[in-house]
């Protein structure tokens, strides 16, 4: 147990990686065996992440230096700079890790039945695990270049999976767009990393933050990094790839790609708060983030209500909900150097934004799964051709209603809790932003009413008389998420106090992140 606790940061990354590597070998034995191995390994990882979470909330930031003789030995003996790659897991990292793992587990269980009749299953599971590895590594790493490598793993696995239904022309197109924008933005990230390396000859995030000088080159690097990550998280006006890719990705993968956007959002926060926080006046970059957030909210939802493709509609909602997260945390970023405002409302705004990440991963992922359940049974994504599905797909309907109410911020669901935090605190910062946020919530409800009306209600269509409820494993996958949504709805105070507030503190408290590596160095 002690051993597992010490080594859990790397095991959480390495075990799914091992699963991805052995999947092509063990699928020779049988499909059942392969599914069992994958699910049990992911459950083991979930267990590890729970252990690590408890440990981190008890003992603070964890540093794990790869290849050193002691895990905590980030700096070589008698030397001032970190040389090896290290994992640095603090509150926000483990928060994102929990989000990712819950979504991945639900999506994997959901996929078991979904891909049963398809070819190329072993490669599907292999890429699924690699996508998970990419996200979790991105969240845990404490090294800039390593972050880039995991970003690439995530992008390539995501693009390959988005084109999984390769006999559909639009699937290939969606995957192609995703890989192109990922490649270009990743190259810009690498270029920015090169600029930072050229100035400080360092790659560790903590050490870079420790010696940051805020020269012009650093600002160029900040702009390149921030905008590349905004592209990956699909903030307006860099969002156009997201509906294309989310719409065509197969079930179980859309929530994963969506969560990988959340991982890019984590990278954005990590860069702006930890790498460039401190003595640098973050008001300007905070306002850039706020403006991107407001644009994402508004344009995302206005485009969403116009769509007639159910998954494109939900993809635009994903963009619009990302806007809330950007808004909440952007307000915190804009007032980061003002302790009074930060204590008054900045911290609450950030709590709201970060709480919204996990809420949104849950209900947005669940809505994507219900959309894909409809596609699984009737073979179309066009809302115009649907109708009366509520007669035959009762569980899917109930799950959809819960998700739609939660995403629209209807009390008592968890979406309301996080949106309330954002409204109240952003109102103190700038009332106009808060009003826009409320209006967006209203339009969200309107557009989900549209989906609900045209897909589930109405008379039973003769064409869909034979439609049955989706298989059990798909229901279990959705059920895991619904259980989490209901838990989060009933205990928002508990969730915010135990996992969200430490994440916010970890973002604000740059010094403890640096001290985790630089230790006693003055």
């Amino acid at each position: 147990m002690e051993y597992l606790t010490v080594h859990s940061p790397i095991l959480i990354v390495a075990v799914p990686l091992l699963a991805a590597f052995i999947t092509p070998l063990i699928s020779r034995i049988g499909n059942k065996f392969r599914d069992t191995v994958n699910v049990s390994l992911l459950s083991f990882v979930t267990f590890l992440i729970v252990i690590l979470t408890i440990d981190i909330y008890a003992n603070g930031t964890r540093v794990y230096t790869l290849g050193a003789s002691v895990p905590e030995l980030a700096l070589p003996e008698n030397y001032m700079v970190p040389v090896r790659i290290m994992f640095q897991v603090d509150g926000i990292s483990i928060f994102m890790g929990l989000t990712t793992t819950v979504v991945a587990l639900a999506a994997l269980v959901y996929s078991l039945q979904f891909v049963k009749n398809e070819t190329g299953q072993d490669r599907f599971y292999s890429l699924f695990m690699l996508l998970y590895v990419g996200m979790i590594g991105l969240e845990f790493t404490g090294d800039m270049f390593n972050l880039f490598v995991f970003l690439e793993i995530l992008s390539i696995a995501g693009a390959g999976l988005a084109s999984y239904r390769v006999n559909m022309a639009d699937a290939v197109e969606g995957g192609f767009k995703y890989i192109i924008i990922s490649a270009v933005s990743a190259l810009f990230v690498l270029f920015a990393i090169g600029i930072l390396y050229s100035e400080y000859n360092l790659l560790s995030i903590a050490a870079l933050a420790h010696s940051m000088q805020f020269t012009t080159l650093d600002l160029i690097a900040l702009a390149l990094l921030a905008i590349a990550f905004v592209m990956k998280l699909a903030g307006v006006p860099l969002h156009m790839w997201a509906p294309d890719t989310y719409a065509v990705a197969p079930a179980g993968i859309t929530p994963m790609i969506y969560t990988s956007s959340a991982a890019s959002m984590y990278a954005l926060y990590r860069v702006t708060f930890t790498l460039y926080g401190g003595h640098f006046d973050t008001t300007a970059i905070g306002w850039v983030v706020i403006i991107l957030g407001v644009l994402s909210m508004f344009i995302g939802v206005m485009m969403a209500i116009h769509q007639t493709d159910i998954k494109r509609l939900m993809a635009y909602h994903a963009i619009s909900q990302s806007g809330y997260m950007l808004l909440g945390v952007g307000v915190g970023l804009a007032v980061l150097t003002d302790p009074v405002a930060l204590a008054n409302y900045g911290r609450d705004a950030m709590n709201g934004g970060i709480f919204h990440i996990i809420n949104n991963a849950l209900y947005k992922g669940m809505l994507f799964l219900t959309a894909e359940a409809i596609f699984f049974r009737i073979g179309t994504r066009d809302l115009n051709k649907m109708g009366g599905l509520g007669h035959n797909m009762k569980w899917t309907t109930i799950f959809f209603i819960i998700g739609a109410l939660a995403i629209s911020g209807i009390p008592p669901f968890n979406g309301f809790a996080s949106k309330l935090l954002i409204y109240e605190s952003v109102f103190r910062f700038n009332p106009l932003l808060s009003i826009i946020a409320m209006f967006v919530s209203l339009v969200t409800l309107a557009s989900f009413t549209k989906v609900f009306y045209s897909a589930f209600t109405g008379p039973e269509m003769p064409a869909f008389k034979e439609v049955r409820e989706v298989p059990r494993s798909m229901l279990i996958g959705m059920g895991i998420m619904v259980a989490c949504i209901i838990f989060f709805s009933i205990f928002p105070g508990l969730v915010v106090d135990t996992i969200v507030a430490p994440a916010t503190d970890a973002l604000i408290d740059q010094a403890s992140y640096i001290n985790g590596v630089m230790g006693a160095v003055p």
Partner: protein, 112 residues
């Protein structure tokens, strides 16, 4: 534990659930006072529109593109402007990326 408190406001889902339960109880009570003669599967459940022939299911259902028709008609100018950047061409996506990058560099270098 389920109450979310922060500085200037409080949110408790339990209160809401209690209110919803009370409302549900009232609704059920009112419903139980109603007529008991309603039966499923008889002529009582058939649709009746003043004796006109009932159209088939496909025609009774309003398809998605007709919902909020007036809203889209009123905002036609906005949607036409909105549709123009959404070309679906990959070059334009990269152009947006580079343009926003340049603007951000300008903002950061000029402001700070």
């Amino acid at each position: 534990m389920s109450v979310l408190t922060y500085g200037y406001a409080v949110w408790s889902p339990i209160v809401w659930l209690v209110v919803l339960l009370v409302l549900a109880a009232i609704v059920l009570y009112v419903r139980s006072r109603g007529q008991k003669r309603y039966k499923k599967g008889t002529a009582q459940t058939d649709i009746f529109i003043s004796g006109i022939q009932v159209p088939p299911a496909e025609q009774r259902h309003v398809p998605a593109h007709n919902i909020y028709w007036g809203f889209f008609e009123a905002l036609k100018g906005f949607y036409n402007t909105m549709m123009r950047p959404h070309t679906g061409i990959i070059n334009d996506y990269i152009l947006w990326l580079v343009a926003v990058m340049v603007v951000t560099v300008l903002v950061l270098v000029m402001v700070i």
